[in-house]
Structure formats: C-alpha cells, structure tokens
C-alpha cells in the first residue's frame, strides 16, 4: 500500500479531508436559525454593506465584507424587512423565517477549505502524506473549531488566510530554493487579507524574516558574510511584500468607505466633523479623502478598545479567560441554549475536543523539551530543517500567547485558534522527530497507533458534538461531558 507515490496519496488524502470536512463543517450550516455570540454584530454590519449604510467598526472590514458577499450571492432573505439592522450594531430580533444560508456561507466554506490547506501545510512540513492526513483529523473533528466556524463570524475567513499563507511558507521553506517575486506577492496578499479580517493575525509577520532568510541562503549561500549584498538582494522582495500587503489591506478599506455612504438616524459613530462633511457631500468615494477616513476609523478602533471591559474572573457569568488556560480549553462559553419538547436542553457551547487540544499541548511541551535538550545538552538532531521549523513554530505559538497576556481587554477561548493550528503542525513535526525511522520503514505499530489516535479524536468529537450542533442533552448527559472543572461547563437546569 505504502509503495504508491505521494502523487497518488496527496490528492487522495486532500479529497478525503475535504469530503470529511464537508460533513463536519458545511452540512446544515444554516442551522440553528438563531443568532449566536458575535453574529448579532457581524450580520448587522454585513447588512449595512449590502444596503450602503455608513458605519464604523472595531475590526478591519474584510471579514464582514465576506459575510455580506455570501448574502449577496445567495439572497435567501429577499422581501424580508431588514431595515432594523441599519439602526443598530447589535441585532436583537430577526424578521420571521430569516435564513442564515447567505450570511454564514463564506466564513463556513472558507473554514471548510482551511481543512484542505492545513493538510497541505502539514504535508509540506513533514513530507509524509499519511501522517499529515492523520493530523488533519484534528481540525475536521474539533468541536470548538467546528461550532465557531459554522457562523457569520470572522475566524473562518481569518484562519483560511493564515493557514493559506502558512502552507505557502512551508512549501517554500522545505523547497529551500530562491523565492520568486510572485511567491512573495502571493504570501503578502494572504497575510494582508488575514490582517484585513482581524488584527491579531499580525503574529504571521514572524514568518517573513524566515522566508527572506531561506531566499537569501539559496541565492547567496552563507549570506551573513555579505550583509550589503543580502540587503540589496532582498530589498525588491520586501518592497513587493509591502505593496502586496498594503494593496489588499487598503482595498478592503476602500470598499468599506465606498459602500457606506448613507447615514441613518444621525448615526455618525466616531466620525470627525471633516468626515461628516464628506458623508454629507457624498465624497467618501474619492481616493484623496482616504487618509482622513482611515485616520477616523483608526481613532474609532482605538476608542472602542478602551471601552472593552477587562477580564474579571470574579464576575458572575464572565465568559473571558486567561490565555494560559486556553491551552487546556479553559474556559468554555455557552453561546446559546434552549429547552426542547423532550425536556432536554440544546446548547451551542464553545467546547474543545480534549484529545485534540491536549495532543496539541503535548506537542508544544515536547517541542520545548527538544529545543531545550538541543540548546543545553547538545542533543544531536538529524533533521536540521525540521528542527528549525519546530523552533519557529514554538516561537510563533509562545509569542502569540505572550502577546495575548499583555492585552488589557477581555479575551476569549476562540482567540486560541491561531496558535492551536500552529500546534497541530508542531504535532506532526514532533511526531516525525520521534518516529522518523519507523515512519520511513512503514512500521505497522506506529501506523496502527496513529489509526487509534484518529479513532479517539473522532469518538470524542461525536461525544461532545451535541455542543456544536445544538442537539439536546439531559442534565446527566451534560455532566458526563464536564471532564475538567476548569472548563466551567454549567448546565441549564
């Protein structure tokens, strides 16, 4: 079986990964037909784009533009009165029989495709399609990722762009050849798009210098002997990257400004008098006014962040949590619940698949041990390229969490998705380090063990899936899922 080439396995595994993801992510994505968590905000914003209403927002515009794109393409709510969305930033009631087929479409489809991109990223990183396929199950069968991605929220598109850029980076890193200008451009477009969805995507910047290093090394050999030459060589690539990132980031803002022209009920948000004048004169489509509108938007963003409360773990019903706790799934969030006719309670509960999250954490811990052993005890590492990739992913993972710890405002469990996906790749790399010879020799014990691990991931996903798909649970069944008190799962009694 293993004698078949990767040209056979990679497309097959990619197809199967996408097929599985279709069932876990996309099927019935419009259910339940109720708003949950930040959908109340994002759908209100997306509808404003569709109807040309001016508004300002604490996030960059691309994520909501993509949400609006789905509604524009599918148009499932034609004839329904959604004008109430124009005069609020937080929808409380929906028109009768409102459909989520449009608003949830693009983030959900992008989240589904992210599964394919992650498989490719894993394959590029570890060069073993079987192991990459096995680790890919972590994404398709994580209860928290599935729930949060099947919604009109920002993380679905953000993770798509981030994992897309990571997959491209890993391809270029392992290829170890000179990086073409259009590779830089594509990479920077993906990074720019991720930034244009949410600003916490900035962690991906860490990959840029490594990409440049790989490029220079291929072009110049030991480039550090020639810093001036290196600088001259890399300068065009840096410029292309800046242009690419800037273009996609600015384009999102330009579309935002060009769409939002009508002011409803004097809702000017934080617009300055000069910006109000532009709105009154209908001059928001002019490029020369872009700096002013961008500055106003930045001021609104900064002011909004000041108003976001701090984490208060003593507060009753606090949904936020410390970044350190995220690594073990602390704390789960009850997005929505209702009692059904059978007397059970249906939940949309942001709850991790503990097998997946603990495997990811285990990879991080083993990664730190490996790097520590190399640094302090001179442990010999055969595969230097993979070793430095482990170092880079560890820096990215720990760097993200350290940055989040410095953030003053309340943060939530889903802010861990970015490092979690990096930890999945780390898991593949660490596994390869541990069982490199066995994997090459197609050791049946190792592959059978991997099959059992995948089986556990699926079994635990099914067990926790009522939280992702709004299926009813009795109180007893609910408590059977409260494995760790720190998750703070609270049933509705």
């Amino acid at each position: 079986m293993f004698s078949l080439s990767n040209r056979f396995w990679v497309p097959l595994y990619l197809s199967v990964t996408l097929l599985i993801g279709w069932f876990t992510y996309v099927r019935d994505y419009d259910q339940p037909p109720y708003l949950f968590w930040d959908e109340n905000y994002h759908i209100a914003s997306a509808q404003k784009y569709l109807d040309g209403i001016f508004f300002q927002e604490p996030h960059p515009p691309l994520g909501k533009l993509l949400i609006a794109l789905g509604e524009y393409l599918v148009q499932p709510n034609v004839g329904k009165d959604v004008t109430s969305f124009h005069s609020t930033d937080h929808i409380k009631t929906l028109p009768e029989k409102y459909s989520f087929k449009g608003m949830r479409l693009v983030p959900t489809v992008m989240a589904w495709l992210t599964g394919g991109l992650l498989f490719l990223a894993l394959y590029f990183a570890i060069q073993n399609p079987h192991l990459a396929f096995a680790v890919g199950f972590f994404y398709n069968f994580d209860t928290a990722l599935v729930l949060h991605s099947r919604s009109a929220m920002l993380e679905g598109s953000q993770l798509f762009f981030l994992i897309g850029s990571t997959a491209l980076f890993l391809y270029l890193y392992q290829r170890a050849r000179a990086v073409a200008w259009w590779h830089y451009l594509l990479f920077s477009l993906l990074v720019g798009a991720a930034l244009a969805v949410k600003v916490n995507s900035t962690i991906i910047f860490l990959l840029f210098p490594v990409l440049a290093f790989v490029d220079l090394r291929a072009r110049l050999g030991e480039f550090h002997h020639y810093p001036a030459t290196a600088l001259r060589t890399i300068l065009p690539s840096v410029l292309i990257s800046l242009v690419g990132m800037g273009a996609v980031f600015l384009s999102a803002w330009i579309i935002h400004f060009q769409l939002g022209t009508k002011v409803v009920q004097d809702r000017y948000y934080g617009a300055s008098p000069a910006y109000k004048e532009l709105l009154a004169k209908g001059e928001t489509k002019s490029y020369k006014n872009l700096p002013l509108m961008l500055e106003d938007s930045y001021k609104y963003f900064a002011n909004y962040q000041k108003g976001v409360p701090k984490l208060d773990v003593c507060k009753s019903g606090e949904n936020g949590s410390y970044p350190v706790g995220w690594t073990v799934g602390i704390k789960s969030i009850n997005y929505r619940w209702e009692k059904n006719k059978e007397g059970n309670v249906q939940y949309l509960y942001l709850q991790s698949n503990p097998i997946v999250w603990f495997s990811a954490l285990g990879a991080v811990i083993l990664g730190v041990v490996l790097v520590g052993s190399r640094l302090f005890f001179g442990l010999a590492v055969k595969d230097q390229r993979s070793f430095w990739l482990i170092v880079l992913l560890l820096i990215t993972y720990l760097g993200y969490l350290t940055t989040m710890m410095q953030v003053d405002r309340v943060m939530y469990l889903y802010h861990y998705f970015i490092p979690l996906l990096f930890a999945f790749i780390l898991f593949g790399l660490i596994f390869k380090q541990l069982f490199e010879r066995e994997l090459l020799e197609h050791n049946p014990w190792v592959y059978a063990g991997l099959v059992l691990l995948v089986g556990q991931v699926i079994a635990v996903f099914i067990f926790f899936s009522p939280f992702s798909y709004y299926n009813g649970l009795s109180t007893a069944d609910f408590w059977r899922r409260a494995w760790i008190s720190g998750w703070k799962l609270e049933p509705i009694l």
């Binding site: 066995e438 050791n443 049946p444 014990w445 190792v446 059978a448 063990g449 089986g455 007893a476 009694l493």
Partner: protein
C-alpha cells in the same frame, strides 16, 4: 522482552482508546425512581412545613443517592443547582420476588418520612447532620409502592437510601436485586 518505540506508542494508544471508549460510550440511567423537587418560597423548619413552591422540577433517577455537600449533587445526574430550602418527593414501584422482612435505611441531612404501601416506616422531622434511621416491614411477593419525602433546610445536605432483605446483601434504593425488582418509568 524489550519493546520497540512503535510498540510502546501502540500500547499507549490501546490503553488510552479503552479509557476513551469507556468514558464516551452511551449510558442509560435506569428510570426507576420518580423525583419531584420543590423549591420552597421561604424557609423549611421540618418535614411538615406547609408547602409553598416557587419552582418545581421532575426527574427520573436510577438511585436515591445525593452526596454530602453544600449543594444538591446526585450520584449519576451530577449537580442539580439547589442548595437550601427544598423538598424532594420520591416515588417507586417495586416487585418483591422473595417475601420476607425488609429494612430500609435512610441516611439523611436533613429530615424525611418514608412509606411503603401507605404505611409509614420511618421519619425524622427536623434538621440534623447526616445520620441513618432504619424502617422495617414484612413484604409479600408482588407489587408494592414506596414513597419518600425529604427536605433540606440550611447548610450541608445529603441523602442515601439502601434496602436489604433479612440475611441478604444491601442495595441502593433503585437498584434491583435477586429479592426485589424496580419497575422502570414510564409504566
């Protein structure tokens, strides 16, 4: 015998898979006991305090066993969200397979009253720390009805009821045995 790394990994995955399967396998709670939980609007001094319900909830339980704690935690259902001033009325129907003298031991904090076929077997009227009160009755073969009223006033709580036929082992109320079988709901 020296195990290879691959074999150790496989063995670890086998063990963890057994653990996972045991944890996630579907479990049915035998619906042998009906329990009506009534939250009192006000305080409860003893088992005869007039009822003034603010909230009522119905449950089907496998056993009557609530751990000693400052909140109501059922052995299999987990925490039920009540702490002070509530009654629980339990009902069960049992099929006696072996006639004889049966003892029902009620360990409670606070008070209770127990009936079998409308005959009062035991009671503790007021509050108390966990203590056991037995009630005895001779039961013929065939169906019998059991009722138990329990109240929690203030502070810690706990309730566990067991039964045994003279000379036989003890079981939790709700657990069927060779001597006595509980008829599950719905009937």
């Amino acid at each position: 015998m020296r195990l290879s790394r691959g074999q150790i990994f496989f063995a670890a995955m086998c063990l963890s898979s057994i653990l996972v399967i045991n944890t996630v396998r579907p479990r049915q709670i035998a619906p042998n006991i009906k329990a009506v939980l009534t939250k009192q609007d006000g305080s409860i001094a003893n088992i005869d305090t007039p009822r003034k319900a603010s909230t009522t909830k119905n449950y089907l339980l496998d056993v009557v066993e609530f751990q000693n704690s400052n909140t109501l935690i059922h052995k299999t259902m987990g925490p039920l969200g009540f702490t002070n001033d509530f009654f629980i009325d339990f009902e069960a129907e049992l099929e006696v397979l072996e006639a004889g003298m049966y003892t029902f031991n009620v360990a409670s904090d606070d008070g209770f009253r127990l009936w079998v076929d409308d005959k009062q077997l035991a009671e503790w009227l007021g509050d108390r720390p966990v203590a056991t009160t037995p009630g005895k009755i001779a039961l013929d073969k065939g169906r019998h009805k059991l009722r138990l009223s329990y109240f929690q006033g203030y502070g810690n709580l706990g309730l566990k009821v067991t039964y045994n036929k003279e000379g036989s082992s003890s079981y939790r109320l709700g657990e069927s045995s060779a001597q006595l079988e509980f008829i599950p709901y719905p009937r």
